[in-house]
């Protein structure tokens, strides 16, 4: 392996390139927020309609939609990882954050499968939405995500005061403000900066 010596100008260029790469990585991440945001929003509102309005007993079946999100995430992340050359500090941090969040959602699902799903499930999920979004916003220095995370935590506390059926609507609002809206703001920002 050859060790090249960089001039100060070259060092600066390397750093500028790394920062630009981080911004580019950020623009790729919005797709995850959008896919998972919409899937969760549809599932929450769908479950509310099925349970509260249609009175369908197996209202929870709507959550099978999550399988679509998992399949997409595995396919897309594998494809993107193959294409991605340089790994930045931010992209690496985000990777571990969302692997950790993915495992946590899985563990939480297992816990609630034992506890019973009709038992204040949603406040805990909303708290995790806030956690992932807030930390992402801080890592990426993108304020709408930070604000979304804080709003999700407020909704997580509020949801503890309402009945199970309405907790679904709290979760839908939480996902809207913490995933979907910041993701669209991000997409617009990236488009604007590219233009």
């Amino acid at each position: 392996m050859q060790h090249e010596e960089f001039s100060p100008q070259e060092s600066l260029k390397v750093i500028q390139n790394m920062l630009a790469k981080s911004r580019e990585d950020f623009s790729h991440n919005d797709i995850y927020f959008l896919v998972w945001g919409w899937i969760t929003l549809i599932a929450c509102t769908g479950q509310f309609v099925l349970k509260h309005i249609v009175k369908y007993e197996q209202h929870y079946q709507v959550w099978w939609l999550v399988v679509v999100g998992v399949a997409f995430t595995i396919y897309y992340s594998t494809r993107v990882e193959k294409k991605r050359g340089v790994k930045t500090y931010v992209s690496e941090s985000m990777k571990y954050l969302w692997i950790g969040m993915g495992i946590s959602y899985f563990v939480l699902s297992m816990i609630f499968s034992k506890m019973g799903y009709e038992n204040n499930v949603f406040p805990f999920y909303i708290m995790l939405y806030g956690l992932g979004t807030f930390v992402s916003g801080c890592f990426l220095q993108f304020k709408p995500l930070v604000a979304g995370g804080i709003m999700a935590w407020a909704l997580a506390i509020g949801a503890a005061f309402v009945e199970y059926d309405y907790q679904m609507l709290f979760a839908a609002v939480a996902i809207l403000v913490s995933y979907i809206i910041p993701a669209y703001m991000l997409r617009n920002k990236v488009r604007a900066s590219n233009n």
Binding site: P123, V135, F139
Partner: protein
């Protein structure tokens, strides 16, 4: 992405270079002291709770309030380091955000615990939460003992669903041991070795 895309000054660039090349891991957190303190406290609180159930006695106060004791040295060292440093590295800021978030979520979970009065199941949820910052910190610093510690927390969290509160407390102590105390001791030993090399 930085919201304000301003060009870097020479000084800022040098700071970034120093940060990337040096990665001086001398902070309170990366020395391992914070990990050791939290690990010991979790183990002590868990074992005291276990002992109260096992030997049927009451201490007369909530032992988990001892966790607030850990906040005192953490705040003290953070303030002290802030005064000594001319700048804070990006990875340190990242860790601050991550662990602050963890603190907020622990607060929310404590609130749920009081509201829902479900002590048995809530221990599983605490351990699930312990796993998150531990795993992410381990991943970001490429520090395998913490990655493993996070995974063990999640495993214990699921396991605790099938046991009563007394056994849960032993699981909780194990999570403190694997997630924080052991990684903290490893970090501390590394720090001491580095110091010896620098002498």
């Amino acid at each position: 992405m930085n919201e304000q895309e301003t060009p870097l000054s020479g000084e800022e660039s040098m700071r970034l270079i120093n940060e990337k090349i040096g990665k001086a891991k001398k902070s309170y957190v990366t020395k391992g002291i914070a990990s050791i303190v939290w690990g010991i406290l979790i183990i002590v609180c868990s074992m005291l709770t276990w002992a109260q159930i096992q030997f049927k006695f009451e201490l007369g106060f909530d032992v988990w309030l001892l966790l607030f004791v850990a906040l005192i040295p953490q705040i003290f060292f953070s303030v002290k380091e802030k005064k000594q440093k001319s700048f804070v590295a990006h990875d340190e800021v990242t860790m601050q955000y991550l662990w602050t978030t963890f603190g907020i979520c622990i607060f929310i979970l404590s609130y749920y615990s009081n509201k829902f009065h479900d002590d048995n199941n809530i221990t599983s949820l605490y351990m699930m939460l312990y796993g998150i910052p531990t795993f992410i910190t381990g991943g970001i610093f490429k520090f395998k003992p913490m990655i493993l510690g996070g995974l063990i927390c999640w495993g214990l969290s699921v396991g605790a669903m099938f046991t009563d509160l007394k056994i849960d407390m032993l699981f909780m102590a194990a999570s403190g041991l694997f997630a924080w105390l052991l990684p903290g001791i490893i970090l501390w030993n590394r720090y001491k070795k580095r110091q010896e090399c620098n002498v």
